[in-house]
């Protein structure tokens, strides 16, 4: 991996080539985040935001019971979605990498898994409505079969729907890096394990799983950060009945309480960075790049 090399005497060409990237990140990432941090200390009234240096936004945020409940709910989503996307993603990647025998089929099936990624997330969420709704396909089938007497209410606009939509949207972020890691595993290692008497399950646990850790790490970082920062999935799929940090922020934005939203954003950013740092301690993803 080249970018980690140490300093070498100024190479003007490199700087010219990398300048556009640096300028875009500076203008649209660094300055905006800095703006959020500055504004989180500002004051506001109903109409505008007022430059100031006060801690009130943080004090209010950190002493409110709602904040804790919101974070607990968001972390709950993240944990559930992580566990599900990991289990499904690992199984799918394992099937593709070790049980599909020809490369052509591997590519075809892999592409089939990735295509939905290129389509609209919002449409993919909406597409659950005719399936899960009160008169949806699932309910009418269940009632028709006599499994339940009345349509199940918890299917749509519930935590169940939120988690289902997240898993639907983000399992791919697990499949791709895990599949990538699995394809790099030297097949002779597996043969050696089998020859040494390992069962299929032992091969997965003691050979494949440890060697796929970097891929799992990358997938986990994607899934956890996407869920932690989400608000649209939770809002749409819970029908506005569940809260998340993102929803709290977007409510404050809608009320033009920008400094409050900014303080919320800073806390969220710190929490997300801590979670990523924790995941990086468990797995070193750098060698995967």
């Amino acid at each position: 991996m080249k970018p980690f090399a140490r300093f070498s005497p100024g190479d003007a060409t490199s700087y010219v080539q990398v300048a556009p990237l640096a300028v875009i990140f500076a203008l649209f990432l660094v300055v905006p985040i800095a703006t959020i941090i500055v504004v989180s200390f500002w004051d506001y009234d109903e109409f505008r935001i007022l430059p100031d240096f006060i801690w009130d936004n943080y004090l209010y945020l950190l002493t409110s019971k709602v904040t804790l409940a919101t974070y607990v709910n968001t972390v709950k989503y993240a944990a559930l979605v992580w566990a599900l996307t990991f289990s499904i993603g690992f199984t799918v990647a394992y099937f593709l990498a070790f049980h599909v025998r020809t490369q052509t089929w591997q590519i075809v099936l892999f592409v089939l898994c990735t295509i939905p990624f290129w389509t609209s997330n919002i449409i993919r969420m909406i597409s659950w409505i005719p399936f899960l709704g009160r008169n949806g396909l699932l309910n009418s089938t269940l009632v028709h079969l006599g499994v339940v007497d009345e349509p199940l209410e918890f299917l749509l606009f519930s935590d169940f729907a939120v988690v289902l939509a997240f898993v639907h949207l983000y399992t791919l972020f697990m499949v791709v890096p895990i599949f990538n890691s699995m394809m790099r595993i030297d097949r002779s290692l597996i043969e050696a394990a089998v020859d040494a008497g390992a069962s299929g399950w032992q091969v997965i646990r003691n050979v494949i799983l440890p060697l796929t850790k970097p891929g799992i790490g990358i997938g986990s970082i994607f899934v956890v950060t996407l869920v932690m920062g989400d608000f649209i999935t939770v809002r749409l799929m819970s029908g506005g009945q569940s809260s998340s940090v993102g929803i709290a922020m977007s409510n404050e934005i809608a009320l033009l309480q920008y400094p409050a939203a900014a303080a919320n954003a800073v806390v969220l950013l710190i929490v997300v960075l801590l979670m990523v740092a924790a995941m990086l301690r468990v797995v070193d993803v750098r060698k995967e790049l």
Binding site: K2, P116, S120, I122, I232, L289
Partner: protein
């Protein structure tokens, strides 16, 4: 993993995989079917006749906001994001092949750009424009917001490409007297071209479908995802599904186009790739 017969595990995994594909494609298929509801049909089954009524409805301006305008804005924005992502990623990818001071910092900045929640980027850019008293608009602030999402993907693809790139080709070109410009144009570019299609696909589709990063940055004119979101709160007819069918179909067309283009490029390369031993 035995070469002869399939283990029972294989069939279980294959069944799981099929279920996974059903899970991925099932819901969107129901939407496509329901978008052809008859004029009196509702949001769920049963089908009340079949018609293209809701597609026609979509193009009547007053009925559902500004579908045409937001669609065209999203396409134009996607194309600009695609072009900028391509040029900037390739250029930066070239720079990262040699060590330079600050490369590690810039690399982590790109990773940070992936990790920072989209709503923060949206809020930050919105606030920045607000304080500077600039108007947010889809071709300025939203463009920047989208680039913070597409560029890291473009850059990571370029890293993967250049890590596998054999420098001998460039050295050969240089030895034969090619200028750096000629080497890039005639040697490097043709070799990396198939991967660039991938970068372009990321650039276009991620921008075309982006919601959170557009929310506070696109100003008074909606992009398509914002328009769709607006519709979810106030539209209760299958016109929503018609829109879903159209935009999904459009995305699939783009993906297909890219797949075909990359297959064609690979085939061409296989045919023209090497003239070793042909005595030319």
């Amino acid at each position: 993993m035995d070469r002869e017969g399939r283990s029972p595990g294989f069939y279980m995994l294959a069944a799981f995989f099929v279920l996974f594909l059903l899970f991925l494609y099932g819901p969107i298929s129901t939407i496509v079917i329901l978008s052809f509801q008859g004029p009196d049909g509702g949001l769920t089954f049963p089908m009340n006749g079949a018609s293209t009524h809701w597609f026609a409805n979509l193009f009547e301006r007053q009925a559902v906001g500004d579908f045409g305008g937001s669609f065209s804005r999203s396409i134009r924005l996607g194309l600009v994001v695609m072009a900028v992502t391509l040029v900037v990623s390739v250029s930066a990818g070239l720079a990262f092949r040699r060590p330079f001071r600050g490369s590690t910092f810039l690399f982590y900045l790109a990773i940070a750009s992936l990790i920072v929640p989209s709503i923060l980027v949206s809020l930050g850019i919105g606030l920045m424009f607000n304080i500077l008293e600039w108007e947010t608009n889809w071709y300025g602030s939203a463009l920047g917001a989208h680039l913070t999402w597409t560029l890291p993907f473009g850059l990571l693809i370029m890293f993967a490409v250049f890590n596998r790139f054999n420098k001998a080709y460039e050295e050969a070109a240089r030895d034969l007297g090619a200028t750096p410009g000629q080497t890039f144009r005639h040697v490097v570019l043709p070799i990396i071209a198939p991967s660039l299609i991938g970068v372009a696909l990321f650039g276009f589709t991620l921008s075309y479908d982006e919601f959170a990063r557009s929310l506070m940055t696109s100003g008074s004119f909606n992009t398509l995802p914002l328009e769709i979101y607006g519709m979810t709160t106030n539209v209760t007819t299958p016109v929503l599904y018609a829109l879903g069918t159209l935009t999904t179909g459009f995305s699939l067309m783009v993906v297909l186009l890219c797949l075909v283009a990359s297959l064609v490029l690979q085939r061409r390369r296989r045919r023209h790739g090497s003239d070793a031993g042909r005595g030319v």
